[in-house]
Symmetry: C2
Subunit: 418 residues, 2 copies
């Protein structure tokens, strides 16, 4: 029932995706007049204001370019390129011209709403250099679509995704010397949107800032796969029906740290989020989860992942793994399924010799093989022999994905920056 | 069952309240070594590092004091006093000496974790001037205890609450000219803690900033009570067992805006959060909710509010209303109850002539009377005659609370700033 109801919110949000928040709308929301009941008006009605216009980009280059770090010293999200891309939005003007400037601090009033009410959402994506030196993005349309969904859900403005991809391309091109040429290296991009209204009233922000910073990163597995061990978390809940667990909001991250620390204190690399009395398997740390098991009745090999029911982050890597599996594994006899599955199902598969492999999927690692899962005081083995660090599906997926990301294979998912 | 499990997390968090995050702890969490299974160590074990020391406060006064606004122009959270109180924390040093400085922007790296993962929590509290010009805070110990619980839940540091109350007192004293003397006016205080680590890795912040800003505010009802109308929200869910809805985290606020905007677009002042298939009544907008009804069986007058089951914000005003009701209404024959109750119970009470009144409770308004609630296509009337804007309990509570807040009545809840 909740899912049906949620569709009302989804419909309203989706209709607002095509336009930004408009001043009339803000004004009417802040007006406290009581209109008669049962006018089911959409809150997002209004005239269109200025969208992102890439032709109005201004560029101020740094006069103190950074020295490049040796590739082996690159650590995820710790060092950034020379520049950043910024776009301001106001409810009355829409999107102001984009600016590329030297990487620099943000100066914000301490009353700014991002500090108090978590008006913030982000994306994680990467730029790669192919063997010809061509810069490529991987499915940037998926990231921009998700950022628009995230921002609309917290009353931040939406934007034209193609215009934003264009701007990101120009930014990456300007800082392209930071993209290492070596296979496995890339430039991690972090588009971020924050509410910048400087008042403490709880309401839709009247101004926002969308910015992109970039951090060169090395391979997640510099010396080959390392399988991780997980602790199933049953005392805390990441997401719930009718909540915002399917959006890439800052709000979904800070509450996950203590359960992660608890798992780490007991020697596990990540925690695995379960949901409900049934203990449905949802996500692992900051990744989606896949399990390959033999079907109990038919013996068929089955690749499972949790469905997009509103409690699962809509991972771009998740979607890509599913797409590749349907295209390339199903012809080999695999069944690829998005459905709810429980921790007990996984444990039964392990006990009955039907467990093939388990892996996380996310932008950072592409795939992250899982060796075992701690659950109810036991360890569920996930199909890897002691001297093996990845199952064949995880290993194959990494090869397929990198082949597309680095342009070895011509594929519509790879976007060339011109 | 979930509640039992949650107590494990609660116990661990509460044991960490007495100390700050320590560097050893951070280090061990970031180390990825796999220790043998079933060491159920507490993640929060470590040596104590430097806590807040009010004697080390430094004060830099503004050289450009602001002009005071006419009282009638004061708007909640829009204008601030001359100064702010700031304390930095690092994992290696603990709390650095507090500083009072001119009110000023924060300068933060765009990679700072507060912008990406919502490492942020806050409090709302007020300073009042009594008829002798004495500054008073209202139950500041409750706010500091809650801030510590909020911060611990998102791996931010905790602190000595008495030391912090001491510092807040000094800050308020310095800016006391901003507290209007007129009854109904006060100085709203916003203690805020943010994570300030400048890296994108998702983990416990290695540094944080605790700051307090202050905004002079007028009475919520300048011309007397105005009852509000609510829309029951059944398509989105604010909080969940095992979640963080009982903490005052930024993460709980941004996701509430769109449902609030939806309610506003249909002419309602606030939305009312229901929970579950049973449609339990939880909270209204950013306030706790109370209902006064006649018991169906006994006819006894009953003051109801939702219990602190982990999905309800632990409001200081809620606790105060309950305390006053138990002390002063129970002797008059009232029953005061914290229990789950449903929207249908309220509707039945309205239909059967047992509805007395409904009101929200929060720091801003103290009490906010409710005229009607839109639910399943009908309007549930909440006991107010057309020409009446508040029920007798709400009106009485406001008088009792203000009597304590403004020092008319000597009461342990009122804290004198010396």
């Amino acid at each position: 029932m909740l899912q049906q109801r949620s569709s009302r919110l989804a419909a309203s949000l989706s209709s607002s995706l095509s336009r930004s928040l408009v001043p009339e709308r803000i004004a009417s929301l802040r007006c406290r007049s009581l209109r008669p009941y049962s006018i089911h008006a959409d809150a997002s009605v209004g005239t269109k204001i200025q969208d992102i216009d890439p032709t109005r980009l201004s560029i101020t280059k740094t006069v103190t370019p950074k020295e490049l770090l040796p590739p082996e010293e690159l650590i995820f999200g710790r060092n950034f390129t020379d520049h950043m891309l910024s776009l301001e939005w106001t409810a009355s003007q829409g999107w102001l011209p984009a600016r590329i400037t030297p990487y620099q601090n943000l100066s914000l009033d301490p009353a700014t709403c991002v500090f108090h009410y978590a008006f913030e959402c982000f994306e994680g994506m990467k730029a790669y250099k192919d063997k010809n030196g061509q810069i490529r993005l991987f499915r940037p349309d998926k990231n921009m679509a998700r950022l628009n969904k995230s921002s609309a859900r917290i009353a931040l403005p939406t934007f034209d995704p193609d215009a934003m991809i264009d701007l990101i391309g120009r930014f990456v091109k300007l800082d392209e010397r930071f993209i290492p040429e070596t296979r496995g290296y890339s430039l991690y991009l972090r588009p971020t949107m924050i509410g910048t209204q400087r008042t403490l009233g709880v309401g839709p922000p009247g101004s926002a800032l969308l910015y992109v910073i970039a951090s060169p990163v090395g391979p997640y597995y510099p010396t080959g796969f390392k399988a991780v061990s997980l602790e199933a978390t049953d005392y805390a809940v990441r997401a719930w029906p009718g909540g915002v667990g399917d959006k890439k909001l800052g709000a979904n991250y800070a509450p996950c740290i203590v359960p992660q620390m608890q798992a780490a204190s007991r020697g596990f690399h990540q925690n695995l989020w379960l949901f409900g009395e049934e203990e449905y398997v949802t996500e692992v740390g900051t990744m989606n989860l896949f399990a390959a098991i033999k079907n109990k009745e038919t013996g068929q090999s089955e690749l499972l992942t949790a469905p997009l029911d509103g409690t699962i982050l809509e991972g771009v890597t998740r979607d890509s793994v599913l797409g590749l599996a349907r295209e390339r594994l199903e012809p080999q006899g695999w069944k690829v399924t998005e459905r709810k599955f429980t921790m007990k199902e996984l444990a039964d598969a392990a006990d009955e010799g039907r467990m093939m492999e388990v892996f996380g999927a996310g932008t950072a690692a592409i795939v992250s093989p899982v060796r075992k899962i701690s659950w109810k005081g036991r360890l569920v083995e996930c199909g890897l022999a002691d001297n093996v660090e990845a199952g064949p599906i995880a290993a194959q997926m990494k090869i397929w994905m990198e082949g597309i990301q680095y342009g070895d294979e011509d594929h519509p998912w790879s976007y060339k920056v011109l």
